[in-house]
């Protein structure tokens, strides 16, 4: 029978990937820029972490390179959308292609290699708590714990600090912020960069931490897009996004587990006896994403919550109206 604790732990691990990417994109979008290139930045980060770690033998350098790589890629998007005022959707898509292409080319030949990975850790005192300690604090990757910390830090920053206030104002009403002396351009550049760095970190989490290895584009296989969907579904709230990420992680593990045992709930396990049915299980995360979007949109209409008001709209000072 499937082990709930194991599913939970697996969910925490793989969910951390989605958490980093989603929270990063939330920060970018709260400042008013939509960066759909998350998948590309993640793949690029995954490749960069793996390659750098492989070449230097030092996984921490790999992490650093991944973070910077994601950030630099996002700056290209920032330049085009903030200064050149290009359409943010198209630019984000082109960034996906760009990031994926770079990852595939520069990552050539890495498939099948191994490299050092970020170690697992057990937190001393907390791991002694019955059940919770074993699930949440024992023998999990360091990045998972960093993921835990990221949630309150992100929430606090966005809602309870002055820079967070300025950022939110830039996302809601950039003209208002501009007339009060907030530098709209610089703010958006900064938070796009932060989002890119976190996407790179998310990619690194895959390739050198949670699911080590480089498998060309299969490394991310769409998780970047699920992260973008999570941003919408969570109403731009980091805590909800993280929870959604963990749930998706658990789902992945669950569908994997369903394939294993010969007997399921006292009946013949169809997935065990007909391996081809496994494909339907693999569809589930993607189908569920669509369902989540549906559910999120109707909830939003009920509660009258929406995206940051100026999301996707380029800002330019002093546009003379007709």
């Amino acid at each position: 029978m499937m082990n709930f604790a194991e599913i939970l732990r697996s969910g925490l691990s793989t969910g951390t990937i989605l958490l980093f990417a989603a929270i990063g994109e939330i920060i970018t979008e709260r400042s008013g820029i939509q960066n759909l290139g998350v998948e590309g930045m993640m793949l690029f980060g995954a490749m960069a972490a793996f390659k750098a770690s492989y070449m230097t033998g030092n996984v921490w350098i790999g992490l650093l390179v991944a973070i910077i790589a994601g950030g630099i890629l996002s700056l290209a998007h920032a330049l085009v959308t903030i200064h050149f005022q290009a359409d943010q959707t198209v630019s984000g898509l082109s960034l996906t292609f760009l990031g994926t292409g770079l990852a595939l080319v520069i990552g050539e030949g890495l498939t099948g290699m191994t490299t050092a990975t970020v170690p697992n850790l057990t937190i001393p005192l907390l791991s002694k708590i019955p059940f919770i300690g074993q699930v949440f604090f024992s023998n999990l990757n360091l990045l998972v714990y960093i993921g835990y910390l990221t949630i309150p830090i992100a929430w606090y920053f966005i809602n309870k600090t002055k820079p967070g206030l300025d950022m939110r104002a830039v996302g809601e009403n950039p003209a208002a912020a501009d007339t009060l002396g907030v530098n709209v351009y610089a703010t958006r550049y900064l938070y796009t960069f932060v989002g890119g760095c976190m996407a790179g970190l998310a990619g690194a989490t895959i390739s050198v931490a949670v699911s080590p290895g480089w498998y060309s584009h299969l490394t991310t296989s769409g998780q970047g897009w699920i992260a973008v969907a999570l941003v919408i579904f969570s109403h731009w709230n980091p805590t909800r996004a993280a929870l959604g990420g963990y749930l998706f992680g658990m789902l992945r593990r669950f569908t994997l587990d369903l394939q294993g045992p010969a007997m399921l709930l006292g009946m013949r396990n169809p997935f065990f006896y007909n391996h081809n049915l496994v494909f339907f299980l693999q569809m589930v995360p993607y189908a569920l994403t669509i369902v989540a979007l549906l559910w999120g949109s109707s909830a939003a209409r009920r509660k009258r919550i929406g995206a940051p008001a100026s999301l996707g709209i380029p800002y330019s000072r002093g546009e003379r109206g007709v």
Binding site: P163, L165, D166, A169, E172, N173, G318, V322
Partner: protein, 644 residues
Amino acid sequence: MSYLEPKADSATVEPVVELRDIVLRFPGVLANDHVNFKMYPGEIHALLGENGAGKSSLMNVLIGLYRPTSGQIIINGEAVSFNSPKDAIAKGVGMVHQHFMLVQNQTVTENIILGLDQPRFFLNLKKYDEEVRQLAESVGVNIDPTAKIWQLSVGEQQRVEILKILYRGAQILIMDEPTAVLAPQEAEELMETLRGMARQGKSIAFISHKLNEVRAVADRLTILRRGQATAEGVPVEGMSREQLATLMVGREVIFNQRRSDKEPGEVILKLENVSALNNKNLPALHNINLELRQGEILGIAGVAGNGQSELVECVTGLRSCQGKIILNGENIANKSPRFSIAQGLSHIPEDRIGVGSAPNLSITKNVIMKNYREKPISKHWQLDYKAAKTHAEGLKSSYDIIAPNVETQARKLSGGNLQKLILARELSSVPQIVVAMQPTRGLDVGAIEGVQELLIGRRDEGCAILLVSEELDELMRLSDRIAVMYEGEIVGIMEDEDADIQTIGLMMTGSLRMDGKEDLPGHNLLQKEPETEAPADEKAESQPPLAMADPIEPEEAPLQEPLQTFIDDAKTAQEETLASEDPKNFKQEVNERIEKFFDSIEEQDVEEKPAKPDLPERPLTEAEEKERVLRKVLGDKYPEDGEK
């Protein structure tokens, strides 16, 4: 008489702000052409001009939003150069924009401290809430710092904007068309606040295109026309309305009535118990009943935001509603715009860029937006662009749309020409009914007259026109009947000859209702005991506007009593008239009361005296008509001895 040099006596005091020889050039436009502007401490200086004259641009230079192409900015004797609004704020200059720059889903305090260096990192809102509260009290403004902006009324939001700049230590305040969104009585409140701040030594620049307002509150004037100053720092005293208007537009402005002399025809549009929600899912329209007849212009008056937009959207099929909207016998409520368009309904929208046109498409493609499926422009599924082009060229010349050719993209057209394009499209189809919302907003005087003539022309041909406008002058000039909207309801409908600005103004602020409904909470303010001191946590709109709450200076107190009496009188009049069931009489009564009231005010020698309303007893000639309107508007400043 030269208007370009201020009198010698002002040279003894140093100007607090001087804009010297400012030239501001944009691609293709010379916004400011060697303009000079000076302000002294404690004065209210009005900047007057039509739309597009360059007033906002000039002030945007002063607040650091635009860099002048040449010229100097001198503040307190020191030449300064602003790289951004932050620099201007640092020098004590602040602007309250016409379109508020507020973040809707953040609180008052959060909006006020936005962009400041303090607090550095951690947000301790409680401390700042307290500071904002104290600041508000010190200038007599009533506001809850923890309220979110979307919860506040328009007048309150404006006060937040004022607090925003005061908090930053502004000594120089610029108000950009501040009364555009306020009812006459709210505007009066604002004037009081401004006068109070001027008395505290602040200098206030007041941008407006409304002559009466300017004459009511300003000390000195600067008038801009097409980027140049036609009057610089001229004292307001002694300038007649005609002189000002001429300086503004360069030619005589005619105030004549254009009411139709024909009898209106059949009822073509009928609204029955129409209710609707606005975009925030709050009630915007409440049981609207309205009739529109052929050959008449029905004007809808009201402060922006009282349901006019929603009303227009319901009639034109862009918003769902309850109730019935019957056009030519068909109920068009909740049906797509296609239905009403097919029934001959034309719609001139409020937002000509966002709704009325497709910016990147050519004039041709814009003009055929509604009739592209008809012959000869279309044959079955095919679109004949040649025929469309010919059609467009015809309209371009007959409506005098100025553009290189019909392939020009719509976004390149100026406001006036874009409006002409929209009118060409909407009126050339010979509609049965036209719904026009703010058709002359943002246009210069020539264009405004053109638009109004077109509408009148259609009306005279039998078209029914529903005209929504924020310009009372325009409504009174064109409408055969005027309905006033307040908080989503029609609070009064009058034939134009019975309408006067005071009554309409009272209705617009909910102080007066013609339908005699007395049981709706918060609506009939004549019922409530007027409060002289409003409790701190009550929203502004529930205060009777006529009771001056939170007086800034003790000198204002004496006004309270006569107002009280007036309110009691009006209340009595209403009760009496309702008993007699004669609405027309009611108006007469009210007018008499108003006259009495203002007479009594006169005896107390108060500064401000609005015109005495008078009802003509016989049909007037045009000259008399003109005189009557001038009298009404100018009040006691109307030159009695025949000098014009």
